[in-house]
Symmetry: C2
Subunit: 261 residues, 2 copies
DNA sequence: AAGTGTGAAGTGCTTCACAGCA
DNA sequence: TGCTGTGAAGCACTTCACACTT
């Protein structure tokens, strides 16, 4: 098809396509790197350059970008500022997203003060906790309010994204409050699986799981350095990014017969 | 094949299989939930029960577990304590993993105090920073040392996992130091793509990307509620977990002709 | 000549459905 | 009978290769 690149009505004739979820996450990555390139004064980038910096396969990058339209110039590359603009639009960053953070304990406090958010279009707009010692204080100029106030405050401030950084046992209750308040997208740091209605999108950041996956790899490497009865063979390569889907030999202390079954 | 379940020599006759990376992450999740079930006194669980709590498809769960061996009992389910033990072994949690954390600023300070780590076999063993105001202080009883000391300290304490929570520009340098010190698994919170040798495993937790993906969904939902010229149709469902691979209609303000090309 | 956009092939994860064991 | 373990089918993402544009 190859549609002529055209100015975007921003919210005018809304059309719809389809983007693989995996691509959406990478688009966000491209956006950040493009921002850095723009600051350095770059005017265009090729898929190969951008792929190099982001650790993504160039073909995959081009395909990702093709999902949002044809904004590249053949023989040249992509115009940085233009692509930046398109990515921001697709990722919904032209509307400011008000973020509410529930749980300002250890981790939550750090998140509340994390400048990487507000600086990039995600102002933390409301803070909540149940601890009487925390309710009433200010963090980064934001008042910490009681969890009971979630419905009213979220509605009043138009919160669109909720972050949960409470202890595990409190998370589901908080989640229910957020959903009840109309929040449809939630970032969950608590170590529990939240139950939510279909229309609510939950993303989870699970530090314990991350470490355990790494521990698995430590064990795997340990075997790789002491190849005893190891069989499996995936001599891949790449430099730690790429996120090519892989499988890993498992250090197994039991069971037998390896072939399929 | 169906191998008779047998006691594990723990490190004896080491064998190797293959586990999809996606499964490894879920195994860690099962492990945590099983721990909770064990505390509640449960002796067995069926794949359906465990699947319900973890938000995973029962068949997928069984397949995940089958990768580590046949530890279930047909007609009954899985013995909680036994399965727990197997998961810990596979995930390398029977050897304690010493963790080093670099960057004890905003986020790093919270991570250093995060009890979810040490409690589950990941004692934070070393802290590093470059800020003279931080070097020398203690956090949770751990001395913050200068980044220059990474090689010696990591070697001395047998650090196997490194966490990077520095500002973006410092991350690559810190990463190089860790790798040089023999650390082969890194959890990166800095908003940069680390360049590492093939043998180093990097996992990235990117808060900005998480929020941007959610922002994308906010925009998507906005359209769903105002179905104007929307075309795409994925009337899926599920409750926010499941992690079934999906695609999403894109709110597009430009370009035309939708069919392929 | 250079680099994008993309059909088609490749690969791996997910889900189904059922044989088989307790 | 109930539930696990798994072959096979389904599906989505990744990668290749090249037509096409500038």
């Amino acid at each position: 098809m190859t549609v002529p690149p055209q100015a975007d009505p921003d919210d005018g004739a809304v059309r719809s396509r389809t983007i693989p979820e995996a691509s959406v996450a990478r688009l966000a990555l491209y956006l950040r790197v493009l921002g850095e390139l723009a600051e350095q004064g770059a005017e265009t980038v090729s898929s190969e350059e951008l792929a190099g910096v982001t650790g993504v396969n160039p073909a995959k990058l081009r395909k990702d970008l093709s999902y949002i339209g044809s904004y590249g110039i053949r023989g040249v590359g992509y115009e940085v500022s233009s692509l930046l603009h398109q990515l921001e639009r697709v990722l919904g960053l032209n509307h400011r997203q008000a973020v509410a953070l529930v749980g300002v304990g250890n981790l939550g406090h750090a998140l509340a003060g994390y400048t990487g958010f507000g600086g990039r279009g995600f102002p933390v707009t409301a803070l909540f906790d149940v601890d009487p010692d925390l309710v009433g204080i200010h963090i980064n100029g934001i008042l910490v309010e009681h969890v009971d106030a979630i419905p009213s405050v979220c509605a009043a401030r138009g919160v669109t994204i909720g972050m949960i950084a409470t202890p595990g046992p409190a998370a589901q209750g908080v989640c229910d409050l957020l959903v009840e308040s109309g929040v449809r997208c939630i970032l969950n740091f608590a170590p529990v699986v939240l139950q939510v209605p279909d229309e609510v999108e939950v993303r989870k950041v699970d530090l314990a799981v991350e470490l355990q996956v790494l521990a698995f790899h430590v064990a795997r490497r340990h075997v790789a350095e002491h190849p005893q009865a190891v069989a499996g063979g995936n001599g891949h390569g790449r430099n730690g990014h790429g996120s090519a889907v892989r499988t890993f030999p498992l250090v197994d202390g039991a069971s037998a017969s390896e072939g399929r079954a």
